[in-house]
Symmetry: C2
Subunit: 306 residues, 2 copies
């Protein structure tokens, strides 16, 4: 495959697949479109968790043992913030913090999130274009039995404990796909669009909620391949399984298939999943090592090519 | 002396005297009025260098070896900021940073600088009320042979290299003394007002530039005692001597006397200074050890009592 590839992704799980893709797709041919529904103004800083997770992962800066944030991170800011009574439920490492401070400053100065993200990714050595889904703010809100919660409030502060009733994307109606999204999906040599195994409801739906996004994906020349996030009915990490149960969905690849109906052309299942009606292939989709990530990336591209 | 004492102070040199005063003035009787002309919005954060220096000094958190900032400080934020091309001429330690982030957040939320400062001072254990000169922003600007510079631009970025022609205090006309200033100077048991040996032009003049401040000091029941900042004609630290030369002033206590004419009732000179016309006393005003600070504090209070 020598054409270009677009990967649509959320946070940690998605970043693993993108890292695999960087080893399989030729240099200059891979673009990532990233969820910004988790973005938040915290303490007056602008935090873009999924963008930063992807930059850190691709730049070799992520803490692979802890599973989030930066390796060699220090926590002086948080320790000090606690002594003056600041909000300490959202952990911000000292190194990580620089991106949130600088992002907020540059947004206030009139730059777009796309411009800032491109610059951070280049300076830190991510190696591929990292494109926010939109330059307009879209905020994922989780409607739960304990009220309508901001995403980080639900995800970090409440550790996904409240029962999810529905999910909405505040500001989505006024958002539009960022210029880089439109350009990447219109590439004449586009050969595959891969939807990473991120949480379909929390991480991919905000991207699809941007008006025009789903149409751009459907209109693109390349097939849309979903790497399913629920190998053998088990969520790898995070609240996917819990949310599916709360939404009354079966923990099966068929539920993922139904979720992406009308958008996806094919599904990469895990070896442990029973077959589904749509075009599909299967492999071991657990991604622990770099070799795992490369294997899944290659399988997704092979499926797109078929 | 069992009455109350107000000390008017700038940064590092002033903080040494205030620390001495805390060992001499009975608990609950000492209040510090602090310069905020050095305050700046940097990277969207709100930095109040003189307030923080005083809080850190009184709370035992200051780095006495380096001479500024906090002991045990770490620099992860700055290192990371550099990698993404952020402005790195103004050093912000990871622990220090928490105050600037939280101060900016609380100001935006509508709290006054007085309220925030009182809370930080209490939480960090400063032990005395620390009161900003004003709740309105006043920005010291240094007019130099290289242009009209913001204070931190002159002081930190240019390391006081440009030649000073004059100094102005932007916003002063719209400022008023903060409520705590008015209250402290109206205390019925006020026995002394001490002007700390901070730079008269850069650190004390912004305080005096707040409309009504000089009148409040003159109207107070207690004498105003200046601890002169130029022992034997030598500046202890910082650009005092350089600025005086550039402004065409002699490096003598008499120049300090002339500067505070009409405001000060008495001057505490250094043993190395020749006598001046105003009421005065002298001692060794170099403050290296805590004992030095206590000695100078005691001498200033003794002079006020006479």
């Amino acid at each position: 495959m020598t054409g270009s590839v677009v990967v649509v992704t959320g946070g940690i799980g998605g970043a693993k697949l993108v890292l695999g893709l960087t080893h399989v797709v030729p240099a200059g041919k891979l673009t990532a479109i990233v969820n910004t529904g988790d973005d938040t103004d915290h303490l007056g800083l602008r935090v873009s968790p999924d963008i930063d997770t992807l930059i850190y992962t691709l730049s070799g800066l992520s803490d692979t043992e802890r599973g989030w944030g930066r390796k060699g991170e220090t926590w002086g800011f948080m320790a000090s913030l606690r002594t003056i009574g600041g909000e300490d439920w959202f952990n911000l490492g000292d190194h990580d913090l620089a991106l949130h401070v600088e992002r907020a400053r540059r947004l206030r100065a009139g730059e777009t999130l796309s411009q800032i993200t491109a610059d951070f990714a280049a300076k830190l050595g991510a190696g591929i274009p990292i494109i926010p889904m939109s330059d307009q703010p879209v905020a994922t809100r989780v409607i739960t039995d304990e009220g309508d919660l901001a995403f980080q409030d639900y995800f970090v502060r409440r550790r996904c404990a409240p029962r999810v009733e529905s999910i909405r994307f505040e500001g989505a109606e006024a958002a539009r796909p960022s210029p880089g999204v439109i350009e990447a999906l219109a590439a004449p040599d586009l050969e595959a669009i891969i939807i990473a195994p991120s949480n379909p409801w929390l991480s991919v739906d905000p991207i699809l909620a941007v008006p025009g996004m789903a149409d751009l994906l459907r209109a693109a020349k390349a097939p849309v391949v979903v790497v399913t996030p629920l190998p053998g009915g088990k969520a790898v990490k995070g609240p996917t399984a819990k949310i599916m149960e709360e939404l009354g969905l079966e923990l099966t690849a068929a539920s993922i298939e139904a979720h992406y109906a009308g958008l996806a052309d094919a599904f990469l299942l895990d070896d442990a999943d029973p077959p589904i009606g749509s075009p599909h292939a299967a492999c071991d989709t657990w991604m622990t090592s770099l070799d795992d990530r490369i294997r899944v990336a290659r399988a997704a591209l092979d499926l797109a090519r078929r």
